[in-house]
């Protein structure tokens, strides 16, 4: 066997190896539905969707590491890390993860870090992109389309149509994204390992993600100041007269960056909630904000 063949075999072990473990399409779909229904069953401020990931991948992990207790422990630890994304668009990440786990379990040189890098590199951007398209665009459109009927008491064209369209569209997107992620992972794994595909996807997502999340936050975080300053006989409104003239949205931006800074400084999310509540109580009580 030549060197080159050996390398290729190493890169994609499952393809040339008759003994390789193979995940069936049925298993991939099963994991998809587990994720779709249970992603948030134990949602929490510490690691968010972490146990949701383990729960969804559970049949896959059992198949791959069921009779290798050490590998299983390692895999569980790997996926008990902080994870949060928009589950439908972000399902692509877990689709890819399944493909990588499959190859890894068959001996491909995929490290913990590669899988973690993939997950943490894409979860944020896809949260931003997904929320924008789903919660920020799709749902408002569906609502404004059906609410007119509902306000006339039309149940079918109101709540029922909303529910059907919403679930139909978003589950389709989720399914497509998940399966696409899996096959991208399978086909692209050689490329991924050689490093030409992943950087492109990641750089793209890590640029687009924050932009849309920035746009989203502009309507999502709401703070303004009702303060007024008496100047002789005229009145200066702090919000429209000062803050808005400096930079629009200074307060929401400031609060968001504060929360971000605190998280970066390793404050627990629960602490940040408390701090935000405190700011709200004090600022609100004195009508500063």
């Amino acid at each position: 066997m030549s060197d080159k063949e050996e390398i290729e075999k190493e890169v994609l072990p499952s393809e040339n190896n008759p003994d390789a473990k193979k995940i069936s399409k049925k298993e991939v779909v099963k994991a998809f539905w587990r994720w779709t229904f249970f992603s948030h069953a134990n949602y929490n401020y510490e690691r968010l969707q972490a146990t949701g990931v383990v729960f969804a991948l559970s049949p896959i992990l059992k198949h791959l590491y069921g009779n290798d207790q050490d590998a299983m422990k390692e895999a569980l630890k790997r996926h008990m890390q902080f994870f949060n994304t928009e589950p439908h668009f972000g399902g692509a990440i877990l689709g890819m993860t399944i493909a990588m786990e499959e190859e890894k379990s068959n001996g491909a040189p995929i490290t913990n870090d590669t899988i973690n890098g993939l997950k943490t590199g894409l979860m944020g951007p896809l949260a931003g992109i997904g929320d924008t398209l789903w919660q920020g665009t799709l749902i408002p459109i569906l609502l404004s389309f059906t609410i007119g009927f509902a306000s006339k008491g039309n149940i079918l064209m109101g709540p029922v149509l909303f529910a059907v369209l919403h679930l139909g569209i978003i589950w389709s997107i989720g399914y497509f994204s998940w399966m696409q992620g899996y096959s991208l992972g399978k086909e692209g794994i050689a490329k991924v390992l050689q490093g030409s595909l992943l950087p492109t996807v990641m750089t793209f997502a890590q640029c687009m993600g924050p932009i849309v999340i920035g746009a989203l936050s502009a309507t999502f975080v709401k703070v303004s100041s009702p303060l007024k300053i008496q100047l002789g006989k005229s009145v200066l409104k702090v919000q429209s007269g000062i803050l808005d003239k400096l930079v629009l949205g200074l307060l929401p931006l400031g609060i968001t960056l504060l929360a971000y800074y605190l998280l970066k400084r390793k404050f627990k999310p629960t602490t940040v909630v408390l701090i935000l509540v405190l700011i709200g109580v004090i600022g609100g009580a004195f009508y500063i904000i």
């Binding site: 929490n44 949060n84 924050p210």
Partner: protein
């Protein structure tokens, strides 16, 4: 019209099903039931008049049209607003627009339930950690579903059921006590909490220049007042150009 205990209980269940995270209807399903448009109709069904419930739901939906729950942040509890707003409105036979004035403060109070369960659930993650050490996948599967869902069920059904059962009177008393500064404070907090959601998502972005791109999106949105989809298209263009240039090999000819 009086609300029977079993009706109150069912209303509590609707509220529970509209809690983000309920596995019974999937995440997208909770996002469906969470909307007053939908849960109003369900409450109406329980109370025997789904058409009226739909009309109440549609009205209560209005102040929450632009509601977004990103990064696990829930600025207002629209599920509680919709279920209780409709139930109490129908019971006390007021107009839908009166129900709105009730629903908005209810939605602010409701966020406490969300924050509470997000905090309690941390315990179950730690238990799952121990199971992971032992490689006990089955136990994690169990821990992920049952303890948090039972907790959530109790947290949701009990208060909603009580409020629906004892009716508009006590609820109005509570809301009346809040009017003025307390309500202002609650509104302010509801406006601030989403900052955590954004920050959670931002913090999860490990790329170079995250903050700058975030700032870019924020400034674009704030100054251009474009619809968010238009900004998303611009974001695609910018990301494309950035990626091309960032991953470009140094030119031989420059």
């Amino acid at each position: 019209m009086t609300i029977h205990l079993w009706q109150a209980f069912l209303i509590g269940v609707v509220y529970y099903l509209g809690q983000m995270g309920t596995p019974w209807v999937s995440l997208a399903g909770t996002h469906t039931i969470m909307r007053p448009l939908v849960n109003g109709a369900l409450v109406g069904l329980i109370l025997g008049d789904p058409v009226k419930g739909t009309i109440f739901g549609a009205a209560i939906q209005l102040p929450f049209l632009a509601w977004i729950g990103a990064g696990g942040a829930v600025p207002m509890d629209t599920a509680l607003a919709g279920t209780l707003g409709t139930a109490l409105g129908m019971a006390s036979n007021v107009s839908p627009s009166v129900a709105i004035t009730l629903a908005v403060p209810i939605s602010l109070i409701g966020t406490m339930i969300w924050v509470l369960h997000m905090t309690v659930d941390i315990t179950f993650v730690h238990m799952a950690d121990t199971a992971a050490e032992k490689g006990d996948l089955k136990r994690i599967d169990l821990l992920h579903v049952w303890p948090p869902q039972i907790t959530m069920f109790v947290f949701s059904v009990v208060p909603a059921m009580l409020a629906a059962y004892y009716g508009a009177g006590p609820v109005k008393t509570v809301i009346g006590g809040l009017s003025g500064t307390p309500l202002h404070v609650l509104t302010v907090i509801g406006g601030l909490l989403p900052a955590l959601g954004i920050a959670m998502n931002l913090q999860a972005m490990t790329g170079k220049g995250t903050l700058m791109f975030f700032l870019l999106g924020f400034m674009l949105a704030v100054y251009s007042k474009l619809p968010i989809l238009a900004i998303a298209v611009f974001a695609v263009i910018i990301a494309y150009i950035y990626t091309t240039l960032y991953l470009k090999k140094g030119s031989e000819n420059a």
